[in-house]
């Protein structure tokens, strides 16, 4: 079998698509069916356009400016989990020493979202799941989350009066105070407990705020409203839910709030996007694999 292995590796490298992730599944014994995380349903988001209030802070000429409303185009489809990652799935990662254990007292359920996980925990799970299945799982970007959330994505734009900062503080506070789910209703519900949106995703903007890969970015705008420069702080990531939140990446429990006076997320959890390999490559690789395995075993 050594020859077959060498051929596989050579082809993978030669094809130029080699990545540890692409090669690994041919070396491990586990199949996707053994990892329930990969078994859960995905929603295939079709290409489209999103009217999107940019995340982060914006300044212009040294003064606070309003976040622009952008038109974001998704040219290719992408697959996103129908429900958030469950605590049972996360626990599998913990048991496999791929993820940090949950806090004491956390319940493990196959049909409830994992909560009180940090951005680092979410990343660790995504990387573990990718290693185990050979697929590429990752957190959605804020734009992808907003696109998938559809009508459940709330525009958090506030008018910015650069001479009166209190207006945006009060506007944001009032908006965040108008929660559909009160802060006291923070117990994670079984999947579907917060209904389905128009794209078929479950529990969007329920009582779980979902991590995205998007960093907190401060953008300097020019007179035309175009970005002059961006300074990201990737120690803080965007968490999306009933309202947009910026949470420090190592925080598991945002209930105590990150800001001096705001309305904090009830729970932190996440769902993942699955990157698809380009379909032509899939066919080509599959043909090669079939060809390799049709060669009778050769003993040196």
């Amino acid at each position: 079998m050594l020859l077959a292995l060498k051929i596989k590796l050579a082809l993978a490298v030669a094809a130029g698509f080699a990545s540890p992730l692409a090669v690994m599944p041919w070396l491990t014994n586990s199949t996707p069916t053994e990892i329930s995380g990969a078994q859960q349903p995905f929603v295939e988001m079709q290409p489209g356009t999103l009217s999107y209030r940019a995340a982060g802070d914006f300044t212009h000429a040294g003064r606070q400016a309003a976040a622009p409303l952008l038109s974001v185009r998704f040219a290719k489809p992408f697959a996103i989990m129908q429900n958030q990652v469950s605590s049972a799935d996360y626990q599998s990662c913990v048991d496999d020493v791929g993820c940090r254990p949950l806090n004491g007292g956390a319940t493990v359920d196959a049909d409830r979202p994992v909560v009180q996980v940090s951005w680092h925990d979410a990343e660790a799970y995504a990387n573990w799941l990718s290693r185990k299945t050979g697929e590429h799982y990752r957190l959605p970007t804020d734009e992808e989350w907003a696109f998938a959330a559809g009508t459940r994505f709330k525009d958090d734009g506030v008018p910015v009066d650069d001479r009166d900062p209190s207006k945006r503080w009060i506007a944001r506070y009032e908006r965040e105070s108008n929660r559909e789910t009160p802060a006291t209703d923070s117990k994670p519900r079984p999947f579907g407990g917060f209904g389905q949106n128009e794209h078929g995703l479950l529990d969007v903007a329920g009582n779980v705020w979902e991590w995205t890969s998007t960093c907190f970015v401060r953008t300097v705008l020019d007179d035309a409203g175009q970005a002059l420069s961006r300074s990201p702080n990737c120690g803080v990531r965007v968490a999306e839910g009933q309202h947009r939140s910026y949470v420090t990446d190592f925080i598991r429990d945002a209930r105590a709030g990150g800001c001096v006076a705001g309305v904090p997320p009830s729970n932190l959890g996440f769902r993942l996007v699955r990157e698809s390999k380009p379909w032509r490559l899939r066919l080509a690789l599959q043909a090669v694999i079939d060809g390799v395995f049709s060669i009778p075993a050769w003993k040196p």
Binding site: T59, R163, S166, S177, A261, V263, S266
Partner: protein, 373 residues
């Protein structure tokens, strides 16, 4: 024979009867019935008053009830006056008499009473007001001292702290007849008054670290007492629950409005601070016979007392009113929010330059040529 002794005794008795009428009928004062209001609001009342002393009639109904005290849904067997934690603020004037009807409905499980820190004698009234479930009592005490004062249930022994930390406390405000004044005697008037009752709670945890729930106060007692003895609260909240005075229930005001914040803590020290504001005039000990301190940053409410702080808002925005042990404020729940509308004062504070990247240090020509943004 009418002796000198009998005459003197007669005079003494007559003098006593004139000086200290023992029965309500003999007071011959007008009566006023007050409808109490749930905190943080306060029933309407005069500040300076031209009226004379009255008998102010209040009713407090004791309610033992299961409440939710935080966002995790932790339940708590509370004991309350009028169903709220804290009990309502009662406002009278110096020289008034407070006539309280204390009702302990048969639906409750324990005897209760009331100790008014503003009253004189009988353990604050505790000795004269012990009522079993199904009973009520009427107590009258004279408001001889001005200030804000705690009242609380005090059945005796270890029951007293347990009832107090189960929510059974509130406050009274006895105003001077001429209203509040500063140290020069200048009149101080408030447009709004808020009553914030701070409550320390001692909720037991199970082996997994989750807060325990009980079916009755009696069931909760032993394990709660174990936590109480360690003197470390699991919750410190305003108005009975974490976040009770935030979000849709945030306190409101306007630039230019003067607010009196009465703050009581029946059991444990606290250090209130209005983040973004100050205490213009603060009766830290809560007693209006003393001139208020002025321009405070943070003030101290001794456990077992109520204090009062007067502030005129100068800037609009969102303020947090906290105990400035910030661990208690953010982790244990001791925070309220004020939403204040009005015009921003750029003179008091302005963001001269919004946050931006730190500009590079001036360098030699070659170095700056190779450095890029």
């Amino acid at each position: 024979m009418f002796t000198r002794r009998a005459a003197m005794l007669g005079v003494a008795v007559a003098a006593l009867m004139l000086a200290a009428p023992a029965l309500a009928d003999e007071l011959k004062l007008p009566r006023q019935k007050v409808e109490l209001v749930a905190p943080p609001f306060v029933h309407s009342h005069e500040q300076a008053t031209k009226q004379g002393p009255k008998i102010m009639e209040f009713t407090l109904t004791i309610e033992e009830k299961k409440v939710v005290i935080d966002e995790q849904g932790t339940t708590f067997q509370a004991m309350t006056f009028n169903g709220s934690m804290p009990g309502p603020l009662m406002v009278v004037h110096e020289g008034d008499y407070v006539e309280l009807t204390l009702i302990n409905p048969a639906t409750n499980s324990m005897p209760h009473n009331i100790d008014f820190h503003s009253a004189t004698g009988a353990m604050g009234g505790g000795e004269l007001t012990l009522v079993n479930p199904g009973e009520q009592v009427v107590l009258r005490w004279k408001a001889t001292r001005t200030g804000t004062f705690v009242y609380h249930c005090a059945p005796g022994g270890p029951m007293t702290p347990w009832h107090v930390v189960s929510g059974m406390n509130g406050a009274v405000m006895v105003l001077p007849r001429k209203g509040l004044t500063d140290r020069t005697g200048k009149s101080l008037h408030y447009d709004k008054v808020y009553y914030i009752g701070e409550q320390d709670m001692y909720v037991p945890k199970d082996v997994k670290g989750k807060f325990k729930s009980y079916e009755s106060p009696g069931e909760a007692y032993a394990e709660t007492a174990d936590v109480m003895r360690k003197l470390i609260p699991s919750h410190v909240v305003f108005n009975g629950a974490v976040g009770a005075l935030t979000g849709k229930n945030a306190l409101t005001s306007n630039v230019g409005e003067t607010v009196l914040i009465v703050h009581s803590q029946a059991n444990r020290d606290s250090r209130p601070h209005l983040i973004g504001g100050h205490g213009d005039y603060v009766w830290e000990t809560g007693k209006f016979g003393n001139p208020p301190e002025t321009g405070l940053e943070t003030w101290f409410i001794r456990g077992g007392s109520a204090g009062a702080a007067l502030y005129t808002f100068l800037q609009p925005g969102i303020y947090a009113y906290v105990t400035h042990n910030l661990i208690e404020a953010t982790e244990l729940g001791a925070a309220a929010h004020f939403k204040v509308e009005g015009k921003w004062n750029d003179d008091l504070m302005t963001q001269v330059k919004a946050p931006a990247e730190i500009p590079p240090k001036p360098q030699g020509a070659l170095e700056s040529a190779t450095k890029h943004n």
